[in-house]
C-alpha cells in the first residue's frame, strides 16, 4: 500500500495539517514530514506572520523560514538558530520551514560558502524585529510602557510585576504591530547568546536516521511519469538518427521524446538527448538501453584529456598574458642565487553528489511547479521560465533536501529537462539521473596546469615569484570566446598572493573548453592551492629550512593585503576588504597552530622511499583561513594517510559542531580528489561511468581526523569550502617528507597505490 502521506496532493492547508499532524501542540523538531511538503506557515490556519521569515501559532510553535538549500552544511539549523536566538524563542518550539523560490527573500543561491556571512545580520534583525513586536504587543495588552516588557525564553514578561504572556498568546496582536525600523532594534550582546555559537541539534537528523528525510530523488506525485534520458556523449553533438522501436516495446514504456540541445555556449541548457518515459524507474532505465542513436559530429570529438593536459603543461612554460606585475621579476630571477621551477596538474573532476540529480515538474500552459534538489530556486524560476516562455513568478519551486550539492545542483539543466518533458506529456514528470548520467554529463571541475618559478637569495629568502595558470574557464560555459582563466578564478588562491615578495608576476595561458566546466566545492582554489602550497614547500626544502619557519618568513609581517593592481580587481568573494581583509596575521596564526600539530622534522627513508612524514599547507579562501597537517606512511609504493588535522579560523562559528563537521567533510572531500579523483575524456566523451572508475574515499582509507577552531569574534566567514584547498598539498608535502619524492600531478594514485 502506498504511503499516502508521501504523495503530494491538492489538499487544503487545514486537511494537510490534519493529515500530517503539523499543527499539533508541542511540535518536535525534525518531524517526519518531508521538507518539500512542509507548507509555509502563512497567516491561514491560525498562524500569525510577523515578517517574511517568522510566524507564530497560538500553540506557541514558531515557524522560521529557511530560504537557503540544505545539502549537509546544516543551514536549516544554522540560520533559524540565529533567528531564534534574537527572538528569544525556545528552540524546542521552533519549526523550520523550507522557503519556496521567491526573490523577496533576497539571494537564495546556496553557493560560495556565503549563507551565514550574507544573512547573519539579516537573520538577527528578523529575530529582533519580531521580538520587539511581541514586546510592544504585550505592552499594549497590559497598558504599560514597552520598556517594561522583555521577551525571554518564549514568553514576554512584564518586569516590574513578573506577569507574562506566552508567545502564542501574543502572536495575533503582535502581527498587527507596526514593523520597527532598523534603528529601533536592540540586538543582543554576544554574552546573552543562547544558541549562536552553541552546538544545537541539527533539525533534520531524526528524519535522516529513519529514512523519512526526502530528497529530490524521492518526490512522488500522482500520475507522474519517470524519465531516464540518454544524452549526447560529446558536448555539442545532437541526434542524427534515432531508432526507438525496441525501446517502445518494453512493457510500461509510455513515450519516447527527444530533447534538442547542442547549442553552445552550453549555459544551463539541457544536453541533446532521448528521454524514455515510463511508469517506473526500472522500466525507463531498462528500455533506454534498447535505444539506437547516431549522434552528429561535434568540434569536441577530438578532445582527449591526457593530451590536453600535456599541451597545457607545455603552454604554461611559455610567456602568457600578464594579470599582475609587481617589481621586476625577470631581474630578480636573473640575479637569484638559486632558481627553482615546477609544473603542477589537476585533472577534470566530477561532483558525484551521493544523490544523483533529479527533478519533478508539472507544467501547464501558464504555470510550472517544480520539486527538486536545487541550490538556487530563483535561478530555477528564471531558467525554467525562459525555457517555457513563462515569467519567473509563474514557476513555483519547492526545494527538497539535497543529497549533496558541491555546486552541481546550482546548475538547473536537469530541472529544465523535467519542465520540458512535463509540457510535452501534459502530466507530471520526474527526471531521474543515474550515476552514469551524473559522471558523464557533469559540469566538470576544470583540468589545469600551473607553472611556478621562484628565485632565492643566499639566505634562502624568496626574491622573485612567477606563476602562470592554464585551465578552461567556467566563463566558457556561459559565453563564447573565453579561452583563458578569468579574473574571478584568479581571485581564488592565485593572484591573491599573501607573500612578502617584492617581485612577483601572475600570468595566464590559453585553454579552450571542450566540456561543460562548472564550479566544484572550493572551485579554482583546488588547483591554485595545490600549486602554491606545494611549491612553497619545495622552496622550503631548497632553502634548507623547516616548512613552517620558511612559510612564516615568506608570508612576512602582519599586514592587510590588497591584491588589486591595474585592470586586475580582486573580488574578495564578493565582500569588501574592509569587512573581510586578507589578513596575514590570521594566516600566520593558523600556520603556527597547524605546524604545532605536526612533526616537521620527521623524515622517511629517502633512499628506499619508505617511511613516515608530515606535511602542512595553509590557505585563505572564502574569507576563512585553514591549515591542514597530515601524517602519511609510504611503504612499498603504498600510501596510507595516518592522521589529518585541520586548524580553521572562520570568524565567529555560529554552530561550532557543524563547522567541525564541514571541516571533517572537507578533509575527506580533499583526500578523494588528491588521491583518487580523475575524470578522463577520450574522443570527446567521458570514459568514467560509476564509482568503480570514479573512485571516492572509503571508510578504510579515512584516517582519524581532528579539527581545531580558532576562537574568533570576527565576522562569520565561509565554512563549506575553505577546508578543501589545503588538503591535497599537505598530502603531497607529507609524501615528500616520507619518501623524498615530489608528486606534482594529481591524483596520487597515478604514482602510488592507495591504502
Amino acid at each position: 500500500m502506498p504511503d499516502s502521506s508521501k504523495q503530494i496532493r491538492n489538499v487544503s492547508r487545514r486537511s494537510f495539517l490534519k493529515l500530517t499532524g503539523l499543527a499539533a501542540g508541542g511540535l518536535v523538531l525534525g518531524s517526519a514530514l518531508p521538507g518539500w511538503q512542509r507548507p509555509w506557515a502563512s497567516p491561514t490556519g491560525g498562524n500569525s506572520e510577523l515578517n517574511l521569515f517568522i510566524s507564530i501559532a497560538p500553540d506557541d510553535t514558531v515557524s522560521i523560514i529557511c530560504h537557503r538549500s540544505e545539502m549537509g552544511q546544516g543551514i536549516r539549523t544554522g540560520l533559524p538558530q540565529v533567528v531564534a536566538d534574537e527572538l528569544e524563542a525556545d528552540w524546542q518550539k521552533v519549526q523550520v520551514v523550507q522557503g519556496l523560490g521567491d526573490k523577496r527573500y533576497g539571494s537564495q543561491n546556496t553557493d560560495g560558502s556565503r549563507s551565514i556571512r550574507r544573512f547573519y545580520d539579516t537573520m538577527r534583525r528578523m529575530g529582533a524585529s519580531a521580538r520587539t513586536m511581541l514586546e510592544n504587543a504585550a505592552a499594549q495588552q497590559w497598558q504599560v510602557p514597552a520598556g517594561e516588557c522583555k521577551a525571554t525564553s518564549h514568553r514576554v514578561v512584564h518586569t516590574p510585576t513578573g506577569r507574562s504572556f506566552r508567545f502564542g498568546e501574543l502572536a495575533a496582536p503582535a502581527a498587527s504591530q507596526p514593523v520597527p525600523g532598523d534603528k529601533d532594534l536592540q540586538l543582543k550582546g554576544s554574552d546573552d547568546f543562547r544558541y549562536i555559537g552553541k552546538p544545537v541539534n541539527t533539525v533534520d537528523t531524526p528524519a535522516m536516521v529513519t529514512g523519512a528525510a526526502d530528497f529530490g530523488q524521492d518526490v512522488s506525485i500522482d500520475n507522474m511519469l519517470i524519465a531516464s534520458i540518454e544524452r549526447a556523449p560529446v558536448l555539442g553533438s545532437s541526434i542524427k538518427k534515432l531508432d526507438d522501436s525496441a525501446a517502445r516495446k518494453v512493457r510500461g514504456v509510455v513515450a519516447i521524446e527527444r530533447l534538442d540541445g547542442g547549442a553552445e555556449p552550453p549555459l544551463f541548457h539541457p544536453l541533446s538527448g532521448v528521454a524514455v518515459l515510463a511508469t517506473n524507474t526500472w522500466t525507463a532505465l531498462k528500455a533506454r538501453r534498447k535505444l539506437q542513436i547516431d549522434w552528429s559530429d561535434s568540434d569536441h570529438l577530438g578532445h582527449n584529456s591526457d593530451a590536453y593536459l600535456e599541451k597545457m603543461q607545455q603552454r604554461v612554460r611559455e610567456p602568457g598574458k600578464t594579470i599582475t606585475d609587481h617589481g621586476d621579476v625577470q631581474k630578480a630571477l636573473a640575479s637569484a642565487s638559486r632558481d627553482h621551477e615546477a609544473v603542477y596538474t589537476v585533472p577534470y573532476l566530477a561532483h558525484a553528489t551521493m544523490e544523483p540529480p533529479s527533478a519533478t515538474a508539472m507544467t501547464t500552459d501558464s504555470s510550472c511547479e517544480i520539486w527538486a534538489c536545487v541550490q538556487d530556486p530563483q535561478s530555477v524560476q528564471q531558467h525554467v521560465g525562459n525555457a517555457l516562455g513563462l515569467e519567473p513568478e509563474q514557476v513555483r519551486v519547492n526545494v527538497t533536501l539535497l543529497g549533496g550539492g558541491f555546486g552541481r545542483k546550482s546548475k538547473p539543466d536537469f530541472v529544465i529537462e523535467a519542465a520540458l518533458l512535463s509540457r510535452k506529456m501534459k502530466r507530471p514528470v520526474k527526471v531521474v539521473w543515474s550515476r552514469e548520467d551524473d559522471i558523464r554529463h557533469d559540469y566538470y571541475h576544470a583540468a589545469s596546469a600551473e607553472y611556478y618559478r621562484a628565485g632565492l637569495d643566499s639566505d634562502g629568502r624568496v626574491t622573485g615569484w612567477l606563476q602562470r595558470a592554464a585551465f578552461p574557464s567556467i566563463g566558457g560555459t556561459f559565453s563564447a570566446g573565453v579561452d583563458h582563466p578569468a579574473g574571478f578564478e584568479l581571485d581564488l588562491g592565485f593572484a591573491d598572493l599573501p607573500f612578502a615578495v617584492d617581485n612577483h608576476r601572475s600570468e595566464t595561458q590559453q585553454a579552450e573548453y571542450h566540456a561543460r566546466i562548472g564550479w566544484l566545492r572550493s572551485v579554482a582554489n583546488i588547483q591554485n592551492a595545490f600549486g602554491r602550497c606545494s611549491f612553497a614547500d619545495e622552496l622550503a626544502h631548497a632553502a634548507g629550512k623547516p616548512a613552517d619557519r620558511f612559510l612564516l618568513e615568506l608570508i612576512g609581517p602582519d599586514r592587510l593585503v590588497d591584491p588589486s593592481q591595474g585592470d586586475y580587481k580582486y573580488g574578495n568573494y564578493g565582500e569588501p576588504l574592509e569587512k573581510f581583509p586578507l589578513d596575514t596575521g590570521r594566516l600566520k596564526e593558523v600556520l603556527r597552530r597547524t605546524a604545532a600539530r605536526a612533526d616537521l622534522t620527521l623524515r622517511g627513508d629517502q633512499q628506499s622511499g619508505n617511511g613516515e612524514g608530515w606535511g602542512i599547507a595553509v590557505h585563505r579562501s572564502f574569507l576563512s583561513y585553514v591549515g591542514i597537517a597530515t601524517r602519511v606512511r609510504v611503504q612499498d609504493n603504498r600510501l596510507e594517510i595516518m592522521e589529518m588535522h585541520a586548524v580553521a579560523d572562520v570568524g565567529l562559528a555560529v554552530n561550532p559542531d557543524r563547522v567541525k563537521s564541514q571541516m571533517e567533510g572537507s578533509m575527506i572531500f580533499g583526500m578523494s580528489l588528491a588521491l583518487l579523483g580523475e575524470i578522463r575524456m577520450e574522443d570527446g566523451a567521458v570514459s568514467n561511468s560509476n564509482f568503480h572508475d570514479y573512485q571516492l574515499l572509503r571508510m578504510h582509507q579515512s584516517p582519524p581526523l581532528e579539527v581545531e577552531l580558532v576562537d574568533s569574534q570576527e565576522a562569520p566567514a565561509g565554512v563549506g569550502e575553505p577546508g578543501v584547498p589545503p588538503v591535497a598539498p599537505s598530502i603531497a608535502n607529507a609524501v615528500f617528507a616520507a619518501t623524498g619524492k615530489r608528486y606534482r600531478e594529481l591524483p596520487l594514485k597515478k604514482h602510488l597505490s592507495i591504502g
Binding site: 502506498p2 537528523t205 560509476n690
Partner: protein, 158 residues
C-alpha cells in the same frame, strides 16, 4: 508476487527482474532506501534479507520471495534502534543521503559482533560511500551503540 516487508505483507505486480530498490521506491513509496549507483558500488540501497545486508539495487524482487525484507523504515519500531540514537548523539549525518544504507550495514555488523574493532568496522562498512565525509562519526557512533545492541538483543522489526 507476495513480499513481507518490515513485517507487513505486500502484494505487487511488477516484473520479477525489477530490483527491490525500485519496487520499494516506486511501487511502495518506501523511499528511505536510496539510489546511489545502481551497481552495488555505494551501499546507499542497503537493506536486510532475513537479517543479512544486501544491496537492493542488485537484488531482484523475486529473490525476496518467502524472505523477510527489512528496510530503514523497519529498523526499529519507535526510531530508537541503538544506532539511530547513536547517530543523533554524534550528529553523524551531513546531507543524510547515504545514511539509511550506512545504518543498515552497521546494524547487520552489530548483530553479529556488538564490539567490533576499527578494522572490523572498516571491513563491514567499506562498501558504503559517504561523499560528505561522515566516516569518523559513523565509526564513533557504531562503537558507542554496540553495547546497547547487546543489551536489547537486537530489535529489528522483521
Amino acid at each position: 508476487m507476495q513480499l513481507i516487508i518490515n513485517g507487513a505483507t505486500h502484494e505487487t505486480d511488477v516484473d520479477e527482474d525489477m530490483p527491490l530498490l525500485w519496487l520499494l521506491r516506486d511501487e511502495l513509496q518506501m523511499t528511505g532506501t536510496k539510489f546511489g549507483c545502481g551497481r552495488g558500488l555505494c551501499g546507499a540501497c542497503t537493506i536486510h534479507l532475513d537479517g543479512r545486508p544486501v544491496r537492493a539495487c542488485l537484488t531482484p524482487a523475486s529473490a525476496a520471495r518467502g524472505k523477510a525484507v527489512t528496510t530503514i523504515e523497519g529498523l526499529s519500531k519507535n526510531s530508537d534502534h541503538p544506532l539511530q540514537q547513536a547517530w543523533i548523539k554524534h550528529n553523524v549525518p551531513q546531507c543524510g543521503y547515504c545514511q539509511s544504507g550506512q545504518l543498515m550495514s552497521a546494524a547487520a555488523l552489530l548483530q553479529d559482533n556488538p564490539n567490533p574493532t576499527d578494522s572490523e568496522i572498516d571491513r563491514a562498512m567499506t562498501g558504503n560511500l559517504c561523499r560528505c565525509g561522515t566516516y569518523p562519526r559513523i565509526k564513533a557512533a557504531i562503537k558507542s551503540a554496540g553495547q546497547f545492541v547487546n543489551a536489547a538483543g537486537g530489535n529489528e522489526d522483521a
